[in-house]
Amino acid sequence: MLAGGLIGIIALLVFLGCAICYIIVLIKLFQNEGLVKGILGIICGLFTFIWGWMNANRYGIKNIMMIWTLLLIIAIILNFAFGVSMVPGYPNPTPVVP
């Protein structure tokens, strides 16, 4: 029970970290590529992620991308090993895929 709670807290922190990284990269995408690609970045988070890595050095977001990638790997491991969602309130989630 306690371990489950701890994993839930870790999942929540991972979710918050991912969300912050996503928003930072999305803002960079809007600023540098304009509205159309920015909207594409909202529609397809994977697009934002790849764009972030491809332009990490140019826009100085390499650290953000490394943190985001690490958090995503942790999220996938948590999901795979414990079936834990990053969203609180969904005890037995199905991964929400685009």
Binding site: C18, I43, C44, I76, P95, V96, V97
Partner: protein, 150 residues
């Protein structure tokens, strides 16, 4: 002379992606991997917009709709997302662009850019996608969220 739909300062999305070969390889590879993992019911990329807001994003359901479309389940695919055929077409076009020699690819990209600028096709598709998403949210919200959550 006909006025261009896209002003010069706006990047036409498809042709600018096509020009960046590394980006195209990464996008096609990641999308292929993602669709494979989803079709095998394995953990994969999760929508950050949905995770953040609890509201499905305009692209939510596209992967599952594409998989269903590839399996030939057209009606079920449309239930998940009506833009799956366009998405699949774009992905196949991006994949094929990687196989083309430069001598054919460069004029094709130039033509794609001209078409995007003249017709505003990508912007129209994106606008359609946003309208489709808003309609689903306004009129079918509960069913939409339930469908995406699984």
């Amino acid at each position: 002379m006909r006025r261009a739909m896209l002003p010069q300062h706006v990047f036409p999305p498809i042709s600018s992606v096509l020009r960046d070969r590394k980006f195209t390889i990464a996008l096609v590879g990641a999308t292929g991997l993602h669709i494979t993992l989803v079709s095998l019911s394995l953990p994969s990329w999760e929508c950050p917009f949905f995770r953040l807001t609890g509201i499905p994003c305009p692209g939510c359901g596209l992967s599952r709709a594409s998989i269903l479309l590839l399996k030939g389940e057209v009606a079920e695919s449309f239930r998940f997302h009506a833009f799956a055929p366009i998405f699949l077409f774009a992905m196949v076009a991006l994949f094929l662009s990687l196989l083309l020699p430069k001598s054919i690819l460069q004029p094709a990209i130039a033509r794609a850019e001209l078409t995007e600028r003249k017709t505003g096709l990508t912007v129209l598709i994106l606008a359609g996608l946003i309208l489709y998403w808003l309609a689903r949210l306004l009129f079918l919200q509960a069913a939409f969220v339930q469908l995406i959550r699984g």
